[in-house]
């Protein structure tokens, strides 16, 4: 996230964050054979999805929102892996790559126009100045929010359907997460592109649409974000529409043979699909409406808001539970064990020898009488050793 925007786009969309998903998908048979581990994966995924989504609700840095949304989407992919929807997870990796790259590059375009400003509270109403960025960004938002027929809809739906088939609780939480996604993405959209411009005058004068070197990639990615999901249309709409599923089938063949995925009735599938789309749509519209009228300082402080703004204090908890104790342990090792005990012992031997030397010197008094006495004592000792031991 902190990297240059194109690097963030690359990392978040394609390379690093998805490596873990790929690894689990690739070694799917191991996880299929270990159901407990798989459940752990699902729960970790879901928790990540929800936690990151809630954090994204309160962030004001445009790239931070996107970064947390990546974490949240990763959670979905893990959920998919955890419930056995390997195809769905890989599918989501792909669609996510399209729209997340689009969103990051769009954000980059915005930041460029704002002369390096990243705080959304200082933006607003950019759609007039940046029509191409605005339109493509909107398409990206719709895709990530899971609005049909954009790409995110198909992949997210596949994961949620599998979650439902596995355990309806997973699905309920998952749908809430999806709604949150729609909310924070349109909060981002509304704060950035709608309403009045809230930045400084200098920034206002600087506003401009980005050059084609930036907009052309945005347009290409926007097209992909729209149509990218069409390689995986579920059975209920188009028979044999899941081309990606067929393409990947050999990879997951063993896992699927071991535990065949539970089949949902078509009616049920339609209903759950409807519910999640509807909820997301409501969240989307609410956010759009609310944040179009955003003014600086209009948000009220509250405890939950603070908690979310500070990312559930995860960093602080890590710091307190892991980093600090480890550091203290290291300091303890360094100051007490290393310097006092081990080195203290080593140097202590030297000191003891020195001390002994100083004490033994007193035997050498220089008095012949004392020497003879000591010699006689020595003789006695020798006789005792020889005759009695």
């Amino acid at each position: 996230m902190a990297g240059p925007t194109p690097v963030s786009a690359l990392i978040h969309a394609a390379t690093m964050v998805t490596a873990g998903i790929y690894m689990i998908a690739r070694s799917n048979i191991l996880y299929t054979m270990a159901p407990v581990t798989q459940s752990v994966v699902a729960i970790v995924g879901l928790t990540t999805a929800i936690l990151a989504a809630t954090i994204a609700l309160k962030q004001n840095d445009i790239k931070k929102v996107l970064a947390y949304s990546t974490v949240s989407q990763l959670g979905y992919m893990f959920l998919g892996l955890g419930v056995g929807a390997y195809t769905g997870a890989v599918f989501h990796v792909m669609t996510h790559a399209f729209f997340k790259a689009l969103l990051f590059l769009g954000a980059g375009s915005v930041i460029h126009a704002m002369a390096g400003e990243q705080d959304m509270r200082n933006m607003g109403g950019l759609k007039k100045n940046m029509p191409v960025t605005h339109l493509t960004f909107l398409l990206g938002c719709l895709a990530i929010a899971g609005m049909p027929p954009f790409s995110g809809f198909f992949s997210k739906d596949e994961i949620l359907a599998a979650a439902f088939a596995n355990n309806s609780l997973l699905w309920i939480v998952g749908v809430i997460g999806a709604a949150l996604t729609a909310f924070y993405m349109f909060r981002l959209y509304a704060m950035t592109f709608t309403g009045k411009f809230r930045g400084s005058d200098a920034q206002a004068n600087h506003l401009h649409e980005s050059p084609s070197a930036i907009t052309i990639p945005l347009i290409i990615l926007a097209i992909l974000a729209v149509v990218g999901g069409w390689v995986g249309i579920p059975e209920i709409f188009v028979h044999g529409g899941h081309r990606l599923g067929n393409f990947l089938a050999p990879v997951f063949a063993q896992s699927l043979a071991h535990t065949p995925p539970p089949q949902l009735e078509h009616s049920k599938e339609l209903i759950i699909m409807g519910i999640s789309v509807l909820l997301s749509l409501i969240a989307l519209l609410y956010a759009w409406k609310k944040f179009s009228k955003y003014n600086k300082g209009s948000e009220k402080e509250n405890a939950i808001g603070n908690l979310l703004q500070n990312k559930w204090y995860v960093d602080e908890i890590y710091d307190a539970v892991i980093v600090k104790p480890l550091h203290n342990l290291a300091v303890f090792f360094n100051n007490v064990i290393e310097k006092n005990i081990i080195d203290g012992f080593v140097n202590g031997v030297g000191k003891a020898v020195n001390y002994g030397s100083r004490q033994m010197r007193w035997l050498q008094s220089g008095q012949v009488g004392a020497y003879v006495l000591l010699m006689v004592l020595g003789m006695l000792t020798l006789f005792i050793i020889q005759l009695f031991l």
Binding site: M360, M375, T381, F383, Q386
Partner: protein, 463 residues
């Protein structure tokens, strides 16, 4: 036999040289000639196996390749001593010839105590060694410390002489053969009569005194410190190893077959000696005194020869005598030329006198027992002897730990010479001549050569 007669004769020659020759330098050359001849006549006996003199000693003296090669080492070391320190002996006082005469008498005593075969000749030998030393210790007439040391040495030496005589008397009384011959003292390896054991303990005590083994070493630091440095050099090396040789020969021949009955005693003495010598040496600020203690510590290692008594021990003793004597004589020779005896006095020597510093370093490394030096080989042989002996193996480990401690004080001098700087140049009481540096370098190379090829020395043993 050659050595005894020749050394006594040359002693007399040296004594009268003072009457006929007034030059102070001439006796030095005379003495060097004498020691060279002594070395040669002894070498002749070693090489050809018979003496010039055909005297019936009634087996009271016995020569063998072992004691003759030991004598060769002693005379060789004395030669080095004369070459290195001859000019310093000259400076001790007026009667240069007499000092050399006394030294030759000591050598006569050494030859006697190396070849003795009866307790009486042992006593004679030891006394002939001791009495000239009392005089040499006090030879710096105007120096109070020297006089004090001489008196102390004499008093305590008399004490130990008495003990030795008492021991001999006990053994004579307890001995069924009523004989002074050492081979007849203990027959068989059963428990020896108490009289003999008591006599033996008295002998251990008096010989421990002579080799300055703890707890009978108290005279040594004071005497070594008080005596003129050149004579300290002689006393703490050549004389000491001679006493050791007598010690080993006595115990090998007289008590060898009851070894298990006295080994504990020797173990005690070894540990006490290593402990006193090494630990006390650490604190010393004067290099001369430090060397005195170090000579006690080295005695602890040499006692392994008495402890073990086997082939390795005999070889080790010969090697040790050479390695220890050459190294100590070398350092004392440098020390004798210096005005400041403290360790700080050596500061910065490497820069001003690189040859001196390098040689001293080799001597000190040898005393510590670092490989490639004769000191290592000698310690190595001693340790091998002790391990081979099989008794009290832990003693060997204790000994090597003390050897590590000895590095502490030897390396202090190396550190001073190489790593510390000094503002004032080192002051010498004498010109450091080219010849001196050359001799020092020769001695250092000897240490290295013996460290690589100890057979050169040991080959004589099996001639």
């Amino acid at each position: 036999m050659n050595a005894i007669i020749f050394s006594a004769a040359w002693g007399i020659v040296m004594m009268f040289s003072g009457v006929f020759i007034k030059s102070k330098q001439a006796p030095v050359y005379l003495a060097i000639t004498g020691i060279l001849l002594l070395f040669c006549v002894n070498g002749f006996e070693l090489y050809y196996g018979h003496s010039f003199f055909n005297i019936n000693t009634h087996d009271m003296l016995r020569t063998s390749s072992f004691n003759l090669s030991f004598l060769a080492v002693v005379f060789g070391c004395t030669l080095i001593y004369f070459l290195l320190s001859g000019s310093d002996i000259k400076k001790v006082g007026e009667h240069v010839g007499e000092y050399f005469a006394l030294i030759f008498f000591v050598l006569c005593g050494v030859a006697l105590s190396a070849t003795f075969n009866t307790l009486l000749l042992l006593f004679l030998g030891i006394e002939i060694i001791s009495i000239p030393l009392y005089i040499l210790t006090g030879s710096s007439k105007l120096n109070l410390k020297s006089n004090e040391a001489s008196l102390k040495y004499f008093l305590m030496g008399a004490f130990s002489t008495g003990i030795m005589l008492m021991g001999i008397a006990f053994i004579y009384g307890g001995n069924t053969a009523a004989s002074f011959y050492i081979n007849n003292i203990t027959l068989g390896s059963g428990p020896a009569p108490v009289m003999i054991i008591v006599g033996m303990v008295f002998l251990v005590i008096s010989l421990s005194f002579k080799v300055s083994a703890a707890p009978f070493h108290f005279w040594a630091p004071d005497v070594y410190d008080g005596a003129p440095t050149v004579f300290t050099s002689f006393m703490s090396t050549i004389v000491k190893v001679a006493s050791f040789f007598a010690f080993v020969r006595l115990f090998e021949n007289a008590f060898g077959n009851i070894q298990n009955q006295w080994q504990t005693l020797i173990v005690f003495i070894i540990i006490a000696t290593l402990l006193f010598g090494n630990i006390t040496a650490i604190f010393q600020q004067s290099v001369k005194r430090m060397l005195a203690y170090s000579s006690i510590a080295q005695a602890g290692f040499m006692l392994f020869a008495v402890f073990a008594i086997n082939d390795r021990a005999r070889e080790g003793l010969i090697l040790y005598s050479a390695a220890y004597s050459i190294a100590s004589i070398g350092i004392f020779a440098v020390l004798a030329k210096m005005n400041d005896y403290t360790i700080e006095g050596f500061n910065g020597m490497a820069k001003e006198h690189p040859v001196l510093a390098a040689c001293c370093t080799i001597f000190l490394l040898s005393l510590t027992g670092i490989p490639l030096t004769a000191g290592f080989q000698s310690k190595f042989f001693m340790l091998m002897a002790a391990v081979q002996n099989g008794h009290s193996f832990w003693l060997v480990i204790v000994a090597v730990l003390f050897a590590a401690i000895s590095a502490y004080y030897y390396f202090r001098i190396i550190q001073a010479m190489y790593f510390k700087d000094t503002e004032t140049p080192i002051s010498f009481n004498d010109h450091i001549s080219k010849g001196f540096r050359f001799m020092l370098a020769v001695s250092a190379s000897l240490i290295i050569i013996l460290g690589i090829f100890p057979e050169l020395l040991l080959g004589w043993l099996y001639h």
